[in-house]
Amino acid sequence: MDFQLSDDQRALGAGIRELLAGRFDRDRMRAAHDGGGGVDRALWRELGAAGLFALRLPETAGGVGLGLPESVLLFEEMGRALLPGPLAATQLAAGAVKGAAEGEAVVALAEAGRPVGHLEGTDALLVLDGEAGGAVGRVLSGRALRQVVREAEPMRSLDPGTPLWRVPDLAGYEGEPLPDGARPRHEGALLAAAEQLGSAGRSLEAAVQHAREREQFAAPIGSFQAVKHLCAGMLVRAETARTAVYAAAVTGDPMEIAGAKLLADEAAVGNARDCLQVHGGMGFTWEADVHLHLKRAWLRAGQWLTAADAEEALAADLG
């Protein structure tokens, strides 16, 4: 047993972090969120060219041929950078939707009864049918997709990086099935959990940096136990979620994935909230980034596998 990152895996994570730092720095990130959100197609293509969406396609199909653990490391970095867009749905549809693997196509996620992000301009819809236990998925495109877009109503989205639409009931819309063996519900939940993990880590870093620099009562606020304990709690949440997410990526076990999503949602939301608290009044402003992480974390917590569904699945597994 060697439950540590391999050198290749470390290099992969560092590589994507560097790529994102160069192409999606804080100014770009803020511009993306202040400008109403949406997918930056040029950046999307660059991510595609870097192999991000084709990562798990076999090499014989033009992919990179890597596995879930490597995907998780990439999605963690994208979550840290607060990259907008239906990243997990597009990677899952690579191979099933033309252009998705190359980053030429954007594939949005549609779940029964929930709003759809990035609907306008999307090339296909990955539709998840059935309850949490079912792993059924199909892809809507062409005329069916155009009809969905016509009938959709835009919402005023809580997350400035993710424009949202209410869509009609998609049960009657014809779609293409995903390839055999696809487990979109589980794998999407895991990739979203990885994004949550990255976000939780970023919130922790921001809180610690602020706690070191901000002085009150003639001392850095990080020297006060009340603030220290908030930060320590954030680390504990992030590290517990990290091992759960990494282990689930290695085993691919649905129960472990459910646990990982549950704990990663908790880490991303909890850490953003505590980061906001550590920042005090500054944390409540639009200028601080922390609210963007919190809002995205709330969005992802409602996608793929909610806390209620994960807890029920994990309960059914007991006894």
Binding site: M1, V208, A211, M255, G259, L262, E311
Partner: protein, 385 residues
């Protein structure tokens, strides 16, 4: 990242399983928690069985009489013994997990030859004389004094929270040998005989009704100078060498046990009909995620220790913080499964465990001290004043 075990590790697991299956049926019944002589006999008997089978001191270095096993093998050992329902390390805890490794790491050849074999064989029990009424979390403030008088130290003072003091043969004792030095620098580590004149033990009754630990009063107790491990006034460093080991793997078996308890709670809730309560059901589901993650966190920490040459990192504090709270949550859920009436019945399963779990956020460094360690040593936040 690889969660599979090597062929060698799987072979080790298989041999261990086979041995456990043969050894456990012949064990006597577990003694009553208040029966200390019975507990000592039971725990040392088990230790002797382990010794004879070659499993004693598995993670100790080979030159100290141990097996020099890797952290992963130690993990497998703790996992399998718990899964098989084997006895816990019990009264051998301090000797095997703390005093023994300290002597192995810092003792002279004579000291190792004198003290280590009896620990491995289960012939001698150790207790830990660290904390004092005025020195709990702030251990370095301890005041028990040792003054040189010829070939002896003369020790006076008092200790508290001394686990297994009632049945121990030896005490690993921290004493102040230089009152003028800065508080971390004037401390020495002594091995004290518990039957030495001047040692008085008074059991403390815990809120769970048991006498798990004791107060100890030391009135001019003579400890021979050769019973000092490490240099004079260097006891703090000697102690810190081994405290980190304690946090690395001390709770492995318990995580396995908690997962078993969780399954039993679900089965009981299904039987009694409380399973229909969605709030309770979801609570148990969340605990499933929690203990699965804690098991993975254990594997992560053990892998990290193995990669780092066997020394556990600060991950032990992260684990301890999360685990101690999760364990309390588990037994709160147990009370709900039992129902308001049965949760008050000390004869029902899980009720005593609920009481015992209250100590977890206090023992071996309170959660608040652990949080300070995490904030200062891992996150690099400035020390408070």
């Amino acid at each position: 990242m690889d969660l599979s075990y090597t062929e060698e590790e799987e072979a080790f697991r298989a041999r261990l399983r086979e041995w456990l299956a043969a050894a456990l049926p012949g064990l006597p019944g577990k003694p009553d928690p208040g029966d200390w002589p019975g507990r000592r006999a039971y725990d040392t008997h088990w230790q002797r069985l382990l010794y004879d089978a070659g499993y004693a001191g598995l993670h100790w270095p080979a030159d100290a009489g141990g097996r020099g096993a890797t952290p992963t093998q130690h993990l497998i050992f703790l996992e399998e013994t718990e899964r098989a329902g084997a006895p816990y390390v019990g009264a051998n805890f301090v000797g095997l997990l703390h005093a023994g490794p300290t002597i192995a790491a810092e003792g002279t050849a004579e000291q190792r030859a004198r003290w280590l074999p009896p620990v491995l064989r289960g012939d001698e029990i150790w207790c830990q004389g660290f904390s004092e009424p005025e020195a709990g979390s702030d251990l370095a403030s301890l005041r028990t004094r040792a003054v040189r008088d010829g070939d002896d130290y003369v020790v006076s003072g008092s200790k508290i929270w001394t686990s297994h003091a009632e049945v121990a043969d030896w005490c690993e004792l921290l004493v102040r040998t230089d009152p003028a030095a800065p508080k971390h620098r004037g401390i020495s580590w002594l091995a004290m005989r518990m039957d030495a004149p001047g040692v008085t033990v008074r059991p403390l009754r815990t809120l769970a009704g048991s006498t798990e630990f004791a107060e100890m009063f030391l009135d001019e107790v003579r400890v021979p100078v050769p019973h000092r491990v490490g240099e004079e006034n260097d006891g703090w460093r000697v102690t810190m060498v081994t405290l980190s080991f304690e946090r690395g793997t001390a709770f492995v078996g318990e995580v396995v046990a908690c997962r078993r308890t969780l399954d039993a709670l679900a089965a009981e809730a299904r039987r009694s009909g409380r399973w229909d309560d969605a709030v309770l059901r979801r609570r148990l589901g969340r605990l499933n995620a929690e203990f699965r993650a804690l098991w993975r966190l254990t594997q992560w920490n053990v892998s990290e220790a193995q990669a780092g040459g066997g020394v556990p990192g600060a991950g032990g504090s992260v684990f301890k913080l999360r685990y101690s709270h999760a364990r309390q949550e588990l037994y709160e859920a147990a009370a709900e499964v039992l129902g308001a009436g049965d949760a008050l019945d000390l004869d029902r399963e899980w009720v005593l465990d609920r009481l015992s779990s209250l100590s977890y956020t206090i023992a071996a460094g309170t959660s608040q001290i652990q949080a300070n360690i995490v904030a200062e040593r891992i996150l690099g936040l400035p020390k408070g004043r």
